[in-house]
Symmetry: D2
Subunit: 137 residues, 4 copies
C-alpha cells in the first residue's frame, strides 16, 4: 500500500450556484492528488507522457457525503492498494478542516502506449518505484 | 422508464493536453442531459430550486470507453429507470457521431430541502409529471 | 464587416458562489461564438488546426456590465470589423433574454504556424472566404 | 502600492487541445492571486462576502505573450497601484520557472452591497488595512 496526503484550497471558480464545489470538480482534485503522489515517489506524470505513455481514466466512482465550500482547505488522502498491472487504481478521501469526510473517489487509469494506442505495462522505472514503496511503506 | 436524447458539441475549453475531453468534464454533459430531460417533462431545475429544493449529487459512476475529441458532436442518451423517492437516478450514455459508445455515467441525486438541509420528497407537481411520463412512455 | 449571432444556455457548472456566471467563463462563450462564426463561413477551427495553423489568443478585453445567471439563454453577437492579417479580431456582445447587454468582449488571435511556432498569414482559402463575406455582407 | 507574489502549478484540467493553459483559465489564476494578497493583508474575501459585500469584476484586460504548459510552476506577481474607492484594481504578471513573462492581466472589481445591489464603499476595516499597507510598503 502507498499512502499520500495533500491539501487544496477551494477556488471561487470551482463553486456553483448552490454555494458548493461543483460535483464534477472533485475529479480535478483527485487528479492533483494522484499527480502529487506520483511526484513524491520520484516520477512525474509529465515525464510518463514524455516517454510515450498516456494514462487515461477508465473508471471513476464518487460517493458524495458532504459539500465543500468556497475557501475551505481540504485534505485529500490518497491510497494505492494494489500494485499496477496495465491499470493503476487510486482511492481518494476528501476531508474538510473539521475533519469531516466529504467524499470518496475511486479512480482507475490505464497505461496506454502513445504509439499503438493500446494498453501497455508501466515502464520498468515505474514498476521499480512502486515495488520499493510497497516494501518500505 | 423515461428516455431523452440531446446533442452537445465539444468545446475547446473542455479538451486537455491529451487532445481529449477532460475526464471530469463529462459530469457537465450529464448535468445538461438531465436538466434538458426535466425541462422536456415541463419542469425546470431552476424552478425546483426556486421552490426551495436542491438536488445535489450523491453518487456518480463513470465507465470511460473511448475519448471524445474537440468539436465532436456527441449524443447523450438519458434514462430514468426508477420512479424517484427522495432520490432521482439517471443513466447516461454518450455516443460520438460514428455512433461509438464513449462512456456510461450513472448519477444519483437527492432532493434536499433548502430550509432543513435534510432529504425530502419531490414536490407533488414533480411526482405527477414523473408518473404521467412513466405511464405514457 | 462580418456579423454572426448564436445562443447559449448557461450551465450550472459555469455559475459560482455569487449565483452568477464566473467572470472567466465568458472567455468560453466568446470562443464558441467565434468558432461558430467561422463554421458558418464554411471553415472550421478544427480544420485550420489540421492544416498546421494554431490560433492562440493574444489579447482579451472584457467589460462586465450585468451578470448572467444559471439557465439564462444568452445571445452572443459577434463582429469581425477588420480583415485579418496575421491577426484576427472579434468583438462580442452578450445579451440576456430581456435584451440587456451583459458584457462586451474583444478578443484578438494570432495565426501561428505549428511548424515554426511563429506568426503566419491565414491560408489562401481562409482569406478568400473572408474577402467574399466582407463583400457580400 | 501593495505587492504580493504567489506560486501555482498548472493542472491537467486547465490545459487544452493545444497543450497550453486555456486562455480563459488565467482569470482563475488572477482570482487566486488577488484572494491571497487580501488574505495576507489580514482579511479574506469570504469574510468580505459574509459582511454583505460582493466584489464582482467590472473589467479584465489580458495581454497574452507566451503560453503556460501542463505542470509548469507559475509565479504570479500582483500589484495594487491605487487606493480603492468603490473600485479595487489589480495588476497581475505571470512568469514561468524560466522567469519568462507569460501574460499581464488587469482586473478591476466593484464593491457591491448585497442589500442594495449597488456599488458601495469598502468597509472601514478594509480601508484601514489598505491604508496601513500603503504606508508601510
Amino acid at each position: 500500500m502507498i499512502i499520500d496526503q495533500i491539501q487544496i484550497r477551494v477556488r471561487y471558480a470551482e463553486t456553483d450556484n448552490m454555494g458548493f464545489v461543483y460535483y464534477g470538480n472533485y475529479a480535478i482534485y483527485y487528479e492533483i492528488a494522484r499527480t502529487e503522489l506520483i511526484r513524491k515517489l520520484g516520477l512525474s506524470y509529465k515525464e510518463i507522457e514524455a516517454e510515450g505513455v498516456f494514462l487515461p481514466v477508465n473508471l471513476m466512482e464518487v460517493k458524495y457525503i458532504k459539500p465543500a465550500k468556497y475557501d475551505d482547505v481540504l485534505t485529500i488522502k490518497t491510497t494505492i492498494d494494489t500494485k499496477p498491472s496495465s491499470r493503476l487504481s487510486f482511492k481518494h478521501e476528501i476531508y474538510n478542516s473539521e475533519n469531516e469526510l466529504l467524499n470518496i473517489g475511486k479512480v482507475s487509469l490505464t497505461f496506454i502506449s502513445a504509439n499503438t494506442g493500446k494498453p501497455c505495462k508501466p515502464s520498468k522505472k515505474f514498476e521499480d518505484i512502486i515495488n520499493i514503496n510497497f516494501l518500505t511503506n
